[in-house]
């Protein structure tokens, strides 16, 4: 069996990659995708611990996280579409007005 720590390391790497993406990319869609990466990393952790502790609560939580990711993607992409329609840009650092 693979020790749980291995899963933690994979999850960490994914998490950090996601964080880097969120912090450095200018394209909002890629930023959103990086957030999905982060959520995914969290899910790996949850499931790994679920197995580690022989309890399924972790997996149930992972399902909630996926639900949340779906909701976030829907609203986030809706905002992106609305924003793009008004400004014709996708760059995060050009989103500098609080209203339009």
């Amino acid at each position: 069996m693979i020790p749980t720590s291995h899963y933690l390391v994979v999850s960490l790497l994914l998490f950090t990659t996601g964080v880097i993406g969120v912090l450095t990319r200018r394209n909002v869609i890629i930023v959103l995708m990086s957030i999905e990466l982060i959520l995914n990393a969290v899910n790996i952790n949850l499931v790994a611990f679920s197995q580690h502790l022989a309890s399924l609560d972790g997996q149930v939580f992972a399902i909630f996280v996926i639900t949340d990711a779906a909701a976030e993607a829907a609203v986030g992409l809706g905002i992106i579409i609305a924003f793009f329609r008004n400004r014709q840009t996708l760059l995060a650092d050009e989103m500098d007005l609080l209203r339009w």
């Binding site: 994979v10 990659t17 450095t24 890629i30 499931v47 760059l91």
Partner: protein, 173 residues
């Protein structure tokens, strides 16, 4: 043996895909690599005996969320975007901080070895208790019994997101 091979394969694929998501210039390519990562993660769930989550990951993440992503990327497809600078000005700082975070967290995992009573994190995990019910049935039971209120709240969240997305997508409100 098979499990190890599968784990390292999927883990490597997931991390590689993740790195490429962040570094690709074209958003569609990023999305393709994100799909790779998500599928690899689904594979990791399989090695963790979480079959239901494996399927949920593919149906919801890959078949649902990522389709939405690709859809939106294609709707707002801009050739201009490809020639713009892809990384913002705080890249170096952000990268450094992120690596610091990574180092810190890795250290935390590594240190756990010395704090644990019997290095529990590094030992092979508990063998999951084999029950007559499959993984799917157990999760279903948990979701609809212990976690029924969070479940309902999640459904309301989805409803709100649905309404929100429709409102955002509307041309004229």
């Amino acid at each position: 043996m098979t499990n190890e091979i599968l784990f390292y394969f999927f883990a490597g694929l997931a991390v590689l895909g993740g790195v490429l998501v962040v570094t690709m210039r074209n958003a569609v390519h990023s999305a393709v690599f994100l799909i790779t990562t998500l599928l690899a993660t689904a594979g990791l769930y399989l090695t963790l005996n979480a079959e239901f989550l494996f399927v949920v990951q593919i149906i919801l993440y890959v078949g649902g969320i990522m389709v939405l992503f690709v859809f939106v990327i294609m709707l707002v497809n801009l050739d201009v975007a490809l020639h713009q600078v892809q990384f913002n000005r705080q890249t170096w700082v952000a990268g450094l901080l992120s690596f610091a975070l990574l180092a810190e967290l890795l250290a935390a995992v590594a240190l756990a070895r010395s704090y644990g009573e019997e290095n529990w994190l590094f030992a092979a995990p508990h063998v999951p208790t084999v029950t007559a019910e499959g993984n799917t049935e157990q999760i279903g039971r948990l979701l609809f019994q212990n976690y029924v209120i969070p479940f309902e709240i999640a459904s309301i969240l989805l409803l709100v997101a649905l309404v929100g997305a429709v409102v955002m997508g509307k041309k004229r409100i």
